[in-house]
Symmetry: C2
Subunit: 347 residues, 2 copies
Amino acid sequence: MPSAVAAPPRRTTLTDVAAAAGVSRTAVSYVLSGRTVGIRVPETTRQRILEAAEQVGYRRNALGLALRSGRMDTVGIIAPVSIMIGEPGKPGGVYYKDLTAALAAAAFEAGLNPLLMSETPHHSISLADLSDRRVDGVILVAKTSNESLVRDAAAEGVPCVTISRDIGTWQVATDNRWGARLAAEHLLGLGHRRFAFLTYEEDSYSSHHRGEGFRTALRDAGSPPDSLTTHLYDQPNRLRVALRSQTRPTAIFCFNDEIAVWLLDICREEGIHVPEDMSVVGFDNNILAVTVRPRLTTVQSPLVELARAALSLFQQQLRGEPPPPTPVLIKPQLVVRDSTASRTLSQ
Amino acid sequence: MPSAVAAPPRRTTLTDVAAAAGVSRTAVSYVLSGRTVGIRVPETTRQRILEAAEQVGYRRNALGLALRSGRMDTVGIIAPVSIMIGEPGKPGGVYYKDLTAALAAAAFEAGLNPLLMSETPHHSISLADLSDRRVDGVILVAKTSNESLVRDAAAEGVPCVTISRDIGTWQVATDNRWGARLAAEHLLGLGHRRFAFLTYEEDSYSSHHRGEGFRTALRDAGSPPDSLTTHLYDQPNRLRVALRSQTRPTAIFCFNDEIAVWLLDICREEGIHVPEDMSVVGFDNNILAVTVRPRLTTVQSPLVELARAALSLFQQQLRGEPPPPTPVLIKPQLVVRDSTASRTLSQ
DNA sequence: TTTCGTTGGTGAATCGATAAACTTGCGCTT
DNA sequence: AAGCGCAAGTTTATCGATTCACCAACGAAA
């Protein structure tokens, strides 16, 4: 008696139902899948089959179906998991967790199962992971968009949508220029005239567009070109110098909420009061924006709509429809809270 | 010419490799899967097969394999997605996002693919979703632990691990009593003698254990039973009354960081300074703990270890090994920051 | 010369579900 | 009485990979 573990009962299959109902597997298949063309099954037999299925506790095996149909009804979500579980207190992560959750929810809405995929130290994602038919295709989140992967997928006919990255034919992104413009117009309306843009890296996809959108809005409003300076997150000393200057900015547009939170700390240390002495605008509107004090005025990343659009493109691709002529851009909204105020007269 | 979309190239199969190498599918299967028993293949043929596979760009179809072997190498993660994408500013969510990310990462480490599953308005998860062989089993996250689902899974032989819920035979949880004891001992050591425990609902799994652990630690230290009162998150007015009392607590242990953040706001409004007039301890050590000011002293939820333990139990179950005699408890650590201080003499 | 052992594989069944092609039996017409 | 048409299904091939049970050919031994 080596083991007391009861053997798991074998799962019931179509054959079991067919035997119980006294018909062929084909008849059962047609009835249970609701097909009506190609075969005739009278109501009495139909009922008999349904009852038999119920009685033996039949559940359709998704693999058999998928092997036949070539559809797994599953979408791979390639997200930067290593960033998502980084140290608390380190930047990054919140946005990706929120976006991944939104993508998962959108997948459910679309009737698809979200399978998480991620690079690990031992394994980088390649075409092999996409073409083993475990997933019908993938959605790539910005940081993970490997250019050759997208190219290979297209060549192999694997549906593939990228989010916030200028790669491939099927793209979805936040309308970063629009969001930046909202921020700029809000600050201009409050009377501000000297601005800074604070970001991680100037030339990343999102950062580039946000900076450009802000600058364009200023120009449209007649602000001189030198009314906007750019600063980097990893150069706090330069930022401090700028903040001590006589002609320091009175409003700072941050690449995202995490940077805004970091900026609030620096301002506090420099004795600069937000929003009285300095207005701060973030981007994302995640949990940080309502946790920090003052609460952040911020541009809301439209994650739910972004995710829905991504899934929608994905399904278009599955159906063999042509791609949209340009990337799908989702317009964000401005959420005004307590970190922005009118420029005081002394400045 | 109705469509200009190029037909996706048919994926290559074992048969293609066999044809290219001039051998049978059987031989290819043995060579590519590395089996050595049951067949003899000389080195020259082996090489020929490997080269042929390389040349035709062969990728093993995971579904064919899974259908044969009964193993999908996939673990379902049943997480409360609707909570995860709740409004920013509403409680809940951060913990589940962090835990889900940790579970996904642990799944990768274990060589398994994490498939997210969630209740939706249209569809509640049932045995049917578990026994369709899309996943080899599931890991249930606290809020989603449907009792009957766990029972059904066990009856059907579907591996199933629950996290932080006293259901089923395979359980993993944070050692909440231990964590609460760490908090209590820290506060006692700072000279505090009047305490409160602030939570969502007194009798949930985690809340019950945290409250009990805190109380036990106080008793062990000789504190009288009435030195601890309990308050609920959704009753802010009662809490305010307690905070205005002459014998108000000088230290409050919060069920989690989100509640602690909420408490900090109330204290601010009541003119109570943290940590000078009031010490606050959170639980989780998530991004909120380092974002809010003062930074939170908090008990770190050991999410990475929790997730690894869950995956480990899952794999034991897959291998048919017996369950551990008691739930697996992971001991958390205390992270001391700026929200706790010595009791001042005036109190 | 028959038998035995070994090398180097192959054939066919199987996992579960689907679908095109086909069969059987009956009533009705011509 | 032969033929037609239709109801009510059944038969069989298929998706891709695995694996148990063979088998052919050859050399060596008895």
